[in-house]
Amino acid sequence: MNRKLRCGLLLLGLLVACATLADFLSPYDPAEQHREFPFAPLTAIHIGTAESFWRPFVFNGQQYPLRFFVTGAPYRLLGFIPCRTHLFGVQEPARIFLLGSDGLGRDVFSRTLYGARLSLTIAAVALLVSIPLALLIGTLSGFYGGWIDFICMRLMELFLALPALYLIIALRSALPLGLEPEKVFLAMVMVIALFGWANLARIVRGATLGLREREFVQAAIALGASDARIIVRHLLPNLTGLILTQAALAAPSYILAEVSLSYLGLGVPEPLPSWGGMLASVGGVGQLGTYWWNLAPGAAIFMTTLAFYLLAEGLREWSDPARK
């Protein structure tokens, strides 16, 4: 493993951990509106109370010590363990907003963590849909050539040529109004995957075309191996590195697709926090400078994209036979 791969994996691992443990790490429920604290700036954490000189505390008229493993809003850890313990918190009426609060007094830190969950899930699910599709169509097209290739290629080109954003907006207005947020999420993933597979399939086809002419494939054909066996045993294993790299490259674009959609207000509805939706609420130039901490999701998007690109670069080097 090279350094880029390790850095990428570490960063991504960190993000995945944050997303999985979002409920535990965040001091508040992401939808909770602390209405007395709209656009609160980052809470300053001071060190050293009267009792102990190292004790961190926040100040809200008086000192409120920062406490760890506090009881707060109920949630289900990992989705099934009922739990009320949060990593840290302060006693009310003080609040702790590590990254400030938004216009409705919701904790930006908690929302950013929960947003990571949404974004990473979208990337993962969309990849799970688009990669098999791309593999299937790409290998068939590259391996058989001829009219199958012709049809598949035209299909890919169709999807590559469609103006995705407009189509998605149209799709969204065609969907029934009263769609539950979870279903909207699912629909969005499907749409993203639907537009995501074509480019991947093109790359897979290109690689398959090259592989088909290689000696070991020709040998297998000469030995009378079935098409299925050739594809599964000879082609696919050789495509692994390529697919992993391409997946790592595609993931951030899927995440950005969700961000763009939510930014336009057509993504996952409230109360589910999403990075794009959070950024949209401070989209005006007047708020940008004044309430800059609401740009935290932007930093999160940057980190995620960086993680995936490091991973892709690392994977490319790792799978490059010339370097082995």
Partner: protein, 569 residues
């Protein structure tokens, strides 16, 4: 693959296209400050013919170019004499006689007479022209009688209260230049955006100098304008008015901050903080005019009709809740309007319960039922109606169905997104689950106007004038904007029938105290019945460069430019 990068590019591309010329155009190089005002507009006019479009941009530009017989003083909200020096309403209220100003000339020097007024109304009453400014009374047009060269009488089929106010929307057209095209049947093609500027002839303080599509509209002073100030100086004071077309609000704000434009109206409550330092330096003046005529509302769909496929427009189970007065009142009580005012509008809004905003000072009825934030009251109202709590977080109706509905609003509007999040959180405390959904604006409008298959919607309504007649479209049960149940063939409920009756009576009542009483009752009913759940009226905030004098910002549009002839610097 869906290229998000591409998507963002498309988006940015649109902005770049739309705000072309907002970089360093020649405007920026010209000195501002001289005797001109530069203003950002979100869009250009649709036409230079004020009678052919009623959108905000066309009318605000049209009012600078064209003259009217009577103008509503935006500040006092009362009519004042313009091209009519005086007017009289007959004792029975069916006729309005106007004495026209003498010695007035169009911007090309042709004298103005009663012929021009008669011609304007001929066009206005022509069904083939279908002017949005046209006015009829139960299908009958206004009759115009030309008494002499400077006297004209309008005759209405029935007594008409506040008859003179409608003249504010009627721009007087020059007969000499438009009659030939009108006779040829080409009126709609005259005075379009492609018409050479010198052909646009009007009685307003300014005339058209230049129009560059997508970039700017430039007006310069009309040398023949009739109005003089108290010391006899010819108005307008300004030589030029420049409208830059900047569709993006952020661009408008930035340009104002940079001093490239001279006025900003309205200023978003969120942006006031960004302008505060400029105000402290004395470079600009920010004025908060208090509650505007824009009211944020949400409502339940009370239509009991069917869709084309035979399915009901609203789930019958939910329609029962929505039609239940106590349900609507409970919802109204559950909403924390102060939170909306404070969180969504940074405190620059007033909670609202009544149909009118308190800014509608001539007609506002303060004595209506209010719905202070009171969860216990809401819960007891729901209990009276048979709703009960299945658990702490789930309200069910008498038959055990969980209470949930979808609230629709327009996408990309940060204010509405925030309001809907507040409503969602507040109703969750009542055990009502609100699913939020955003639609692109046009799709939303077609849903609430045509397809009608939705459960609840969040929007704003705005008054066109400070007079009860301007609300007929919303209040009458057959009105197009009677959104909770539009275009009824006959009133669906007793209280809607009562409102119809009151609205009809106030239209023909000449005594203004009596009218105020009638319209006051309409407001009482609206507050009691809560077909619209009113939330807040945002303050109108405007900002201007420090050196602009005679500004009389007001709640009626155009907020800053309605008295453009008097502005000076």
């Amino acid at each position: 693959m869906l290229k998000a990068g591409k998507a963002v590019l498309i988006f940015c591309g649109l902005l770049a296209l739309a705000s072309a010329g907002c970089g360093k155009s020649e405007d920026a190089k010209r000195p501002t400050g001289a005797n001109r005002l530069v203003i950002s507009k979100s869009a250009g006019p649709r036409t230079f013919n004020r009678l052919l479009a009623s959108d905000e941009q066309t009318s605000s530009l049209g009012d600078c170019l064209m003259g009217r017989l009577i103008r509503i003083n935006r500040q006092t909200q009362q009519p004042e004499a313009e091209l009519a020096t005086s007017w009289q309403i007959s004792a029975d209220g069916t006729a309005l006689t106007c004495e026209l100003r003498r010695g007035v000339k169009f911007s090309d020097g042709t004298p103005f007479t009663a012929d021009d007024v008669a011609f304007t109304f001929q066009v206005l009453n022509d069904p083939a022209i279908a002017s949005p400014a046209s006015f009829d009374f139960d299908g009958q047009p206004i009759k115009v009688e030309q008494l002499d060269s400077h006297k004209i009488r309008f005759v209405f089929p029935a007594p008409q209260a506040a008859a003179e106010r409608f003249l504010d929307g009627v721009a007087i057209l020059p007969k000499h230049s438009l009659e030939p095209v009108y006779r040829e049947g080409k009126f709609a093609q005259a005075w379009t955006l492609a018409t050479p500027p010198e052909q646009i002839v009007g009685l307003g303080p300014f005339k058209l100098k230049e129009y560059v599509a997508g970039q700017r509209v430039v007006l310069n002073r009309n040398p023949h304008y009739w109005k003089k100030d108290s010391s006899g100086n010819q108005l307008p004071y300004l030589d030029e008015l420049v409208f830059n077309l900047d569709p993006d609000r952020s661009t408008q704000l930035l340009k104002f901050q940079q001093g490239e434009t001279d006025l900003l109206s309205p200023v978003n409550a969120d942006d006031v903080a960004a302008l505060a330092s400029l105000e402290q330096q004395g470079k600009i003046k920010i004025t908060d005019l208090g509650p505007s005529l824009i009211r944020e509302i949400f409502w339940f769909n009370l239509n009991d009709g069917k869709q084309k496929n035979g399915k009901p427009l609203v789930d019958p189970m939910k329609l029962v809740w929505f039609k239940d007065l106590r349900f609507r009142q409970a919802v109204s009580h559950a909403i924390d309007r102060n939170a909306i005012a404070n969180l969504v509008f940074s405190g620059k809004a007033s909670p609202q319960w009544s149909f009118l905003s308190s800014g509608d000072k001539l007609w506002f009825n303060a004595e209506v039922k209010t719905y202070p934030h009171d969860l216990n009251r809401a819960k007891s109202l729901l209990a009276e109606s048979g709703f009960r709590f299945k658990s702490e977080t789930e309200l069910v109706d008498a038959k055990g169905n969980p209470v949930t509905f979808t609230l629709m609003t327009n996408a990309g509007n940060a204010i509405r997104q925030k309001i809907s999040a507040v409503i969602q959180a507040d109703l969750a405390k009542l055990g009502i689950r609100v699913v939020l959904t955003s639609l692109e604006s046009r799709a939303m409008l077609s849903t609430i106007n045509d397809s009608l298959n939705y459960e609840a919607a969040l929007l704003a309504i705005v008054s066109g004038d400070a007079d009860p007649n301007s609300h007929v479209n919303v209040l009458s049960s057959n009105g197009l904007s009677h959104w909770w149940h539009p275009q009824q063939s006959k009133p669906a409920t007793d209280w809607e029938a009562r409102i119809d009756d009151l609205m009809k009576r106030q239209t023909s009542t000449l005594d203004s105290t009596e009218r105020k009483k009638l319209f006051g009752e309409v407001q009482t009913i609206m507050a009691e019945q809560q077909p619209f759940i009113f939330l807040a009226s945002r303050h109108l905030i405007v900002a201007a460069k420090f050196d602009i004098q005679n500004l009389k910002p007001a709640l009626l549009p155009d907020f800053m430019l309605w008295n453009c002839e008097e502005l000076r610097r």
